[in-house]
């Protein structure tokens, strides 16, 4: 039941000379939504970039279903079933919406058409603007496209970095719905500053501070712990 899908054990990551992650340890339960919280610069994005191999940990291990993936190249890591929605969306602005989705689709298994249909059902705007250049989309639509790219493959794990950044409340509501619908199909590790959004979605939380994971537990426990929230999140 509480089987672990992704596991980081004492991960240390350097960016250039800077020792950014100084001991990140976390376990993401299969089929749960785990949220990674922490103030600006705490190391949340660096943690996700380390998981997908854009940064190499100097120490520690990253395991997916028990098998180590650290040290593999990014393309080999994500091909094990990880969808990555980076901070700032990372869409290809010069390509069309359709091309963004096509470039994301790896192979075409029997489930591919159904997944694409689900994506367009979740984000009708993308169906409407399929032929438009992605650079012309609104901020919310770009975020939807970025999430959609992670959904066109049969991924087991989705890593989503601050999807609500810079978006209007009504758009965030739509995103929450979409992410909730994703829960049925994949495990999610979510980085989110918007506490209401985190609360609405997460089963588990991890707090990261100065490159270290400092607290974790069920989301409900964090919601109830005012002292902890004040200390690490300032709320």
């Amino acid at each position: 039941m509480a089987e672990t899908l992704l596991e980081l054990d004492d991960v240390h990551t350097f960016i250039g000379q800077h020792h950014i992650l100084q001991g990140v340890t976390l376990a993401v339960r299969r089929d749960a939504v785990t949220v990674l919280l922490g103030r600006n610069g705490a190391g949340k994005t660096t943690t996700l970039r380390t998981i997908v191999g854009l940064l190499r940990p100097a120490r520690g291990s990253v395991r997916l279903e028990g098998r180590p993936i650290h040290g593999l190249r990014p393309h080999a890591i994500v091909r094990r079933g990880i969808g990555f929605v980076p901070e700032g969306q990372g869409i290809f602005a010069t390509l069309t919406v359709d091309e963004n989705l096509r470039v994301a689709r790896l192979g075409s298994d029997a489930g591919a058409p159904a997944r694409l249909a689900r994506v367009f059902e979740l984000f009708p705007d993308l169906a409407r603007f399929r032929a438009a250049r992605a650079g012309t989309l609104s901020g919310g639509q770009k975020q939807m496209l970025s999430i959609a790219r992670a959904l066109v493959n049969p991924n087991r794990l989705l890593l989503v970095d601050e999807p609500s950044k810079g978006l209007a409340p009504i758009v965030i509501e739509h995103l929450v719905e979409a992410l909730r619908a994703m829960k049925a199909h994949a495990t999610v590790l979510l980085v989110e500053q918007n506490f209401a959004m985190a609360q609405a979605l997460a089963d588990d939380f991890y707090l990261i501070d100065d490159g270290r994971t400092v607290h974790h537990g069920p989301m409900a426990a964090l919601v109830a712990d005012d002292a902890l929230k004040k200390r690490y999140l300032g709320i």
Partner: protein, 324 residues
């Protein structure tokens, strides 16, 4: 339109010299300029994609140009000495000879490119200073090898008979080989555009040029695509070298270095990573070089530098650059 303005600029620029040059001379210069532009484009196309995809500054591209020229030159000389294919007044034999030389030039460019990419470029991904030093080093070695293999002096290249001389169309003298070069440049541009626009590999390369990191975390092995782009770009550099050699009817060990300067200007003018930008930039450089060389022979290269500066002031990312 974002793209219409740069194109209009080229046309405007091309018409400007008509004020100072007699129309018949102007036409001859224009054809020479377009041909020169197309040949520079062959070199710049690879350079711009190699930079666009992996941020690699490849100064060895010029050496591949020289090697392509010498490979094609060797084929031309040998087949002409043994079989007389260059001198024979036969379109079929001449074309066959040209094709054989083209195949040799591209094959040598391709093989050298793959070796360079694997052996010296791959270890210095992401480190510009090392890339400049190591590719300049490779250039020196490759040029020295040419001097050892073929000698240090200029050599005259046997141009196939059909492609020598000119047509006289209503008093306008149209040199034959430049026309061949223009057609070839258009064909190559069309082929690149087709691959980039219509194939999955092209889609991935275009996406990778915009954001190489993202393409990797979408599951694509960027090194594989980069090797492919590097190889194709190297083959085109080899082809450009041969064409330039035929154009100037000679080969020289240092010929690639000079072309590389033009190609870099073109890549910067056109916008790093943009093939269409490179084509336009190459035509601007080729045309302005020829007009100015006619009007003010000493200012020709200086005008290209000045053009680059002006264009960058107006559009810091180049004509078609994304400004990444």
């Amino acid at each position: 339109m974002r793209r219409a303005a740069p194109a209009a600029l080229v046309v405007g620029l091309a018409l400007l010299p008509l004020a100072a040059i007699e129309p018949r001379v102007y036409l001859t210069l224009t054809i020479a300029g377009l041909a020169m532009g197309m040949l520079i484009f062959l070199v710049a196309a690879g350079l711009t994609l190699i930079f666009g995809l992996m941020d690699v500054l490849n100064f060895a591209h010029g050496a591949l140009f020289s090697w392509g020229a010498y490979a094609g030159f060797t084929v031309l000389v040998l087949l002409n000495e043994r079989l007389g294919w260059a001198e024979a007044p036969s379109l079929g034999l001449n074309a066959l000879l040209l094709l054989a030389a083209v195949a040799a030039a591209m094959a040598v460019g391709l093989v050298l490119g793959v070796v360079l990419e694997r052996v010296i470029v791959r270890p210095v991904y992401g480190r510009h200073m090392f890339q400049i030093l190591i590719t300049l080093g490779a250039t020196i070695v490759l040029e020295e090898l040419i001097r050892i293999g073929w000698g240090p002096n200029d050599q005259v290249l046997p141009v196939p008979f059909t492609f020598q001389g000119s047509w006289d169309l209503a008093d306008v003298i149209v040199l034959r080989f430049p026309v061949v070069a223009i057609v070839l440049g258009l064909v190559v541009y069309g082929a690149i555009a087709l691959v980039l626009r219509r194939t999955r590999v092209g889609l991935i390369v275009r996406a990778g040029v915009e954001n190489g990191e993202m393409i990797q975390v979408l599951g694509h092995d960027i090194h594989r695509y980069f090797t492919g782009v590097f190889a194709a770009g190297s083959a085109l550099a080899g082809l450009g070298g041969l064409m330039w050699a035929i154009f100037s009817q000679s080969v020289r060990p240092a010929m690639g270095g000079e072309q590389l300067i033009f190609a870099f200007i073109v890549v910067i003018i056109g916008g790093l990573g943009s093939v269409s930008g490179s084509l336009l930039g190459a035509l601007i450089v080729g045309l302005s070089y020829n007009y100015v060389a006619f009007l003010l022979p000493k200012a020709a290269i200086g005008v290209n530098m000045a053009l680059m500066v002006v264009i960058l002031l107006l559009r810091p990312a180049g004509l078609f650059g994304s400004g990444k």
